[in-house]
């Protein structure tokens, strides 16, 4: 008797638990903490800023505090952070539950479009007038500007200048794909003398790296235009041959098994410790490099363009990965205060100091002196951006979920020799049209 009693006591809640989670699986969202701490005095205008970049939380909080102190309207700007790819799911949960933030970081046009009914036109804002040409279009839906670019990021093949020098390769002399192959082979032939494991430390185990890498080759197909990429109904892999060449080259001279090389191994272990000469990465690794080796970014870091369009035309993809949207569903006072904060952040002296200093952004605005940008790679990208010599961040405009669910698995499958390049192009291209 006792035993069956015990069983039923155990089983009832377990069975309920089983049903409950089984039915809810699709609706689970990560919870967020500490978002309702504000609301000090009755008059305070609370502006909730939804941040998707955990690495800048502390700096944003500092900015918010500075702003709150000098505000005459008793503003209370708060930062809520959910990152690591879970941000957009959490943001959606905030909207579904009615607890909408006033300001939010949005990633690319597909995400901006999803919230376009809620967002206000930002073209009249002070900051909008200062943005570098062409960047605002990344936040424009049907001709209305709905997002302010947060900053500029750029990526490409980042290399270790010191290793190149030791191997006798002059990065400035690389002017075509063939030069690049020569450089790789020279480096490879001196692996032991240089003390490197392999030439490349490409992260085959990170979906966003595959996504960014693809932008080198899809940007020319979309005429280096964010809007073209966003409205494209299909992806034909017009420059797929170049991508295959690069992929094969990297795979041949990469740390293996390439599929298990993740971000931290690639950057924090191999690259920063001079064990690989090149990684496909972007300027966001600079703070991490600085933490591990304060001189690395200043003295050793360089960036090479990828010859995506043809063997002689190399470009660095650069653009704004994040756009700040202002939620128009809230009280007028909150909306005005939210816009005020963004204007202040980008146009006031304190704000600009923070942008170049602690945030270490490449500014998305004109009028900064390139010399004020601390690390050389960021400076190079800012100058290239001003001169219009970069390719576009088309990878943020792919259909939602396409890179995680299609591009990345198919790319991995090719890297591992499971399928041909033709199959890769065909499968991803078909899914692109279906998901658009």
């Amino acid at each position: 008797m006792k035993k069956s009693m015990l069983f039923s006591l155990l089983a009832v809640p377990l069975a309920l638990y089983g049903c409950g989670t089984g039915g809810n699986e699709g609706g689970q969202t990560p919870s967020e903490d500490g978002q309702n701490e504000g609301g000090t005095s009755g008059e305070a205008v609370t502006v909730d800023f939804f941040n998707q970049k955990p690495e800048i939380t502390a700096q944003l909080e500092e900015l918010a505090e500075m702003y709150n102190e000098q505000s005459e309207n008793n503003a209370d700007v708060m930062i809520t952070t959910v990152g690591s790819g879970e941000g957009s799911a959490a943001l959606q949960a905030r909207f579904s539950s009615g607890d909408e933030p006033a300001l939010m970081m949005l990633n690319g046009l597909p995400e901006i479009e999803r919230y376009s009914d809620s967002l206000v036109d930002v073209s009249e804002m002070e900051v909008a007038g200062t943005v570098i040409d062409g960047l605002l279009e990344g936040g424009t839906i049907n001709g209305t500007q709905l997002g302010i670019p947060l900053n500029i990021e750029g990526f490409g093949l980042m290399y270790n200048k010191e290793l190149f020098e030791q191997a006798g390769v002059d990065p400035d002399s690389i002017e075509s794909y063939d030069d690049f192959v020569d450089a790789v082979e020279t480096l490879d032939s001196q692996k032991e003398e240089l003390g490197i494991e392999e030439v490349f430390g490409f992260s085959g185990g990170e979906n966003y790296i595959a996504n960014q890498f693809s932008a080198n080759f899809t940007s020319p197909e979309f005429n280096h235009s964010i809007l073209d990429a966003y409205s494209a109904e299909e992806l034909t892999w017009e420059y797929g041959d170049q991508m295959q060449k690069y992929t094969d080259l990297i795979n041949e001279y990469n740390v293996q098994p390439i599929l298990t090389v993740d971000y931290s191994r690639s950057v924090e272990e191999l690259f920063v410790n001079d064990q690989v000469a090149m990684v496909h990465q972007g300027v966001w690794i600079v703070p991490t490099l600085n933490e591990i080796d304060p001189d690395f970014a200043q003295e050793k870091l360089g960036i090479l363009p990828v010859y995506g369009e043809s063997d002689t035309e190399g470009k660095i993809p650069a653009g704004s990965p994040w756009y700040i949207g202002v939620n128009g569903n809230l009280d007028e006072a909150v909306v005005a205060e939210a816009q005020n904060f963004i204007d202040w952040m980008y146009t006031s002296e304190e704000g600009q100091e923070m942008i170049l200093g602690d945030l270490a952004f490449i500014p998305a605005q004109e009028g900064y002196d390139p010399e004020d940008i601390s690390d050389p790679v960021s400076r190079q990208i800012y100058e290239a951006m001003l001169a219009g010599e970069t390719s576009a961040f088309v990878h943020n405009q792919y259909p939602s979920g396409w890179f995680q669910q299609e591009l990345y698995p198919e790319f991995q499958s090719y890297l591992n020799g499971e399928q041909s390049w033709e199959a890769f192009e065909e499968n991803t291209s078909q899914a692109f049209s279906e998901m658009r």
Partner: protein, 288 residues
């Protein structure tokens, strides 16, 4: 009068839990089924009938994930119960205080969250195994998690690691409840250790099997955190289990109606399998 009062107490105790169950489980389930009949993207939804369910039939990745999960659950359930029971038998031997120590050790992995376990084991599989391969030249240790087979077994091993100790505790409690006189009587009748286990302990453990099988089966199907931390579906989506497939559909592709229909199908499958298992194993239980 007395009956009425008793009734009042009865409902006073039951209603709060009923309300919670209704709002937390029944209502979301109904809403979920409703959503699964729409093309919801989280903001707008249009009723499209059973189209989502029809589309499921030709969704290769969904069917692959489902099949992968079923294989995983099958292997994991058998191994966890064998190992859990084995450990339980070991630590219930009369070996003094040491047994308490081992119980704690075996149970320990269950106290670590799935995400952290996943990352720890990812390090072991990718880095430590590579080191072993280099040192010994055994190709068996090479390139773990880089192909489908090692990805599958990697998940199984970590899940075993996590769950076996927990299931062991359940078996221990049931083993301890077997009356000593039964075993003693068996001994007097000339049963050896082997016979005592198979003919006396094993049938007496039937209720433990019901609970343990149910727990492991349901958990194996619903696994997500471990999957996310250990492989995140890689390589090439071949270790994407069903819960992850649903989550990704909902929050990467924003096809929440479609994801919900997957969840409903998933729910039905888990419910049918678990209830069948409980029904079958309960019939085998013996009551003293």
């Amino acid at each position: 009068m007395k009956g009425k009062k008793k009734n009042l107490y009865y409902w006073a105790f039951v209603i709060p839990s009923l309300l919670v169950v209704f709002f937390v489980i029944v209502l979301p389930l109904i809403l979920g089924i409703g959503t699964s009949l729409t093309n919801s993207d989280g903001h707008n939804a249009v009723f499209i009938g059973l189209n989502n369910y029809i589309r499921l039939l030709s969704d290769d990745q969904f069917i692959y994930s489902l099949w992968f999960t079923i294989r995983f659950a099958f292997v994991a359930v058998i191994l966890i119960n064998v190992i859990g029971l084995g450990l339980a038998l070991l630590v219930t031997q009369k070996i003094g205080k040491v047994s308490l120590f081992f119980r704690t050790i075996f149970f320990m992995p269950n106290l670590i969250g799935g995400i952290i376990l996943g990352f720890i084991w990812q390090f072991i599989f990718v880095r430590a195994f590579a080191g072993i391969a280099e040192a010994t030249g055994l190709s068996f240790f090479n390139a773990w998690l880089a192909d489908t087979t090692t990805g599958f077994w990697g998940l199984v091993i970590v899940f075993l690691w996590q769950m076996s100790g927990y299931i062991m505790i359940i078996y221990i409690s049931f083993l301890a409840n077997i009356p000593g006189e039964l075993i003693e009587a068996g001994k007097i009748d000339g049963a050896n250790k082997w016979q005592a286990f198979w003919l006396i302990k094993f049938p007496m453990l039937a209720p433990a099997f019901t609970v343990s099988l149910f727990l492991t089966l349901a958990n194996a199907f619903k696994i997500y955190d471990l999957n996310l931390a250990l492989t995140n579906g890689a390589p090439f989506g071949s270790t994407e289990m069903i819960a992850m497939n649903i989550y990704n559909t909902a929050f990467f592709q924003y096809q929440q109606g479609y994801a919900q229909s997957k969840a409903v199908v998933f729910f039905l499958i888990v419910a049918v399998i678990s209830l069948t298992q409980v029904f079958i194993t309960r019939r085998k239980e013996v009551d003293l």
